[in-house]
């Protein structure tokens, strides 16, 4: 019985917004890996991950974000983060990943950074 569907995918122009729910950890990241892999297969290379409803995140979750960030960048795409919690922001800062992965507080602002006009 899946209590919650962990991922909702929305499309705004050529950007795919992925709303995540629950844990982003070793036990919960497989749907996201599959989701981003599928987006890459379909040529949708601009991905905005919305972490608003992510309740827990650990090093494995961040590691998975980094792996997908690299995959997308290599293909000319990008992965950016929306609504990052204070704790996740801390994790990105101490690993210096905040220098390379962009984060946003507003979806509109994030979409604009991808070149989407409001």
């Amino acid at each position: 019985v899946p209590a919650v569907f962990p991922i909702v995918v929305r499309t705004v122009d050529d950007v795919t917004v992925v709303d995540l729910h629950g844990h982003l950890m070793d036990d919960g990241d497989i749907p996201l890996v599959e989701c981003v892999t599928d987006l890459i297969r379909r040529g949708r290379l601009k991905v905005l991950l919305n972490l608003k409803d992510v309740t827990r995140i650990d090093s494995t979750g961040i590691g998975m974000l980094v792996a997908k960030f690299l995959s997308l960048r290599r293909l000319g795409g990008d992965l950016k983060l929306l609504h990052v919690s204070e704790r996740a922001r801390h994790l990105l800062a101490v690993t210096k990943l905040s220098r390379v992965i962009e984060t946003f507080e507003s979806e509109e602002e994030a979409l604009r950074s991808f070149g989407v006009r409001p």
Partner: protein
């Protein structure tokens, strides 16, 4: 562990608080579970022996037989369920007894509906390996020491239980300790223990007046921290992605951030010479 062949997974609620029982039953039925109820331990065990269940939500302060006694008897059954202990008491002594009784999780009342749904979901999706026994070496709240098989499932269970000892701490301290413990424990069972359930990891959690000290000893040979090119802790300042590229080249799964993150969360992080034992300290003032 029990496993239902029917599509609908089963939850047994054992609590003398009728209103809570009904509220929980309604909540969980709404999530698609088949829910049974019992008002005391005797009735709960009777139900368990007769029909079994996948997950039992068990109050500790039951009339007559206590929840901890029910837990002990439930674990002796041929096909015990995953047991989630519920209590309003929440003393460290009770948490330790729940660890001894091989509980799956421990939750303090009152709890948010979301929290219990998440725990029941965790139990329903847990692998049978999550039920492997944890040996308790020292059962004092100020010195809990356990030996556990090297599986991620047991590490997850142990971590969730141990963190219930620290609920009196400020939220930010508790979260830091929880995350540091999780990162190091998972490193220990995965890298040191090779996820081999026949190998054991030893965890000591010491609580002093002004500090917490955790020691984790794994059965591996240790490592040379200077040569961990696949770990972010060795990244040059100007290249935070180097470890990820190394991991890709070596065919390792994404990760490598645990040590870098842990170092930022605790006050002291000390390895022994071989690097198969680690101590971390969090000062409380």
């Amino acid at each position: 562990m029990s496993s239902s062949s029917a599509e609908q997974r089963r939850v047994l609620i054992v609590d003398d608080d009728r209103a809570l029982r009904h509220a929980l039953a309604t909540l969980l039925q709404g999530k698609g579970y088949a829910v049974e109820q019992a008002g005391d331990g005797t009735e709960g065990l009777l139900h368990l022996r007769r029909d079994g269940t996948d997950v039992m939500l068990l109050d500790i302060n039951l009339p007559g037989m206590s929840g901890l006694e029910v837990l002990e008897q439930a674990q002796a059954l041929p096909s015990p369920p995953f047991v989630v202990m519920m209590t309003a008491d929440g003393t460290p002594e009770t948490v330790v007894r729940a660890v001894q009784g091989q509980a799956f999780r421990y939750i303090r009342k009152p709890f948010a509906p979301k929290a219990i749904i998440e725990i029941v979901g965790d139990a329903m999706s847990a692998a049978p390996a999550a039920a492997l026994p944890i040996e308790v070496i020292s059962a004092r709240p100020e010195w809990l020491e356990v030996v556990a098989p090297c599986t991620l499932e047991v590490a997850e269970r142990l971590h969730a239980l141990v963190m219930q000892l620290e609920t009196s701490l400020p939220e930010d301290v508790r979260e830091s300790v929880a995350q540091a413990c999780r990162e190091l424990l998972f490193n220990a069972v995965e890298w040191g223990g090779k996820l081999d359930p026949t190998r054991k990891v030893r965890i000591s959690c010491l609580r002093a007046k002004r500090m917490l000290l955790y020691r984790i000893a794994d059965p591996g040979e240790g490592f040379d921290i200077e040569r961990l090119m696949h770990a972010a802790i060795c990244n040059p300042d100007d290249d935070p992605l180097r470890h990820a590229l190394v991991r890709e080249e070596q065919g390792l799964r994404p990760g490598g951030l645990g040590l870098a993150i842990t170092r930022s969360l605790v006050d002291e992080l000390i390895y022994n010479e071989a690097h198969n034992e680690v101590v971390f300290v969090k000062y409380l003032d």
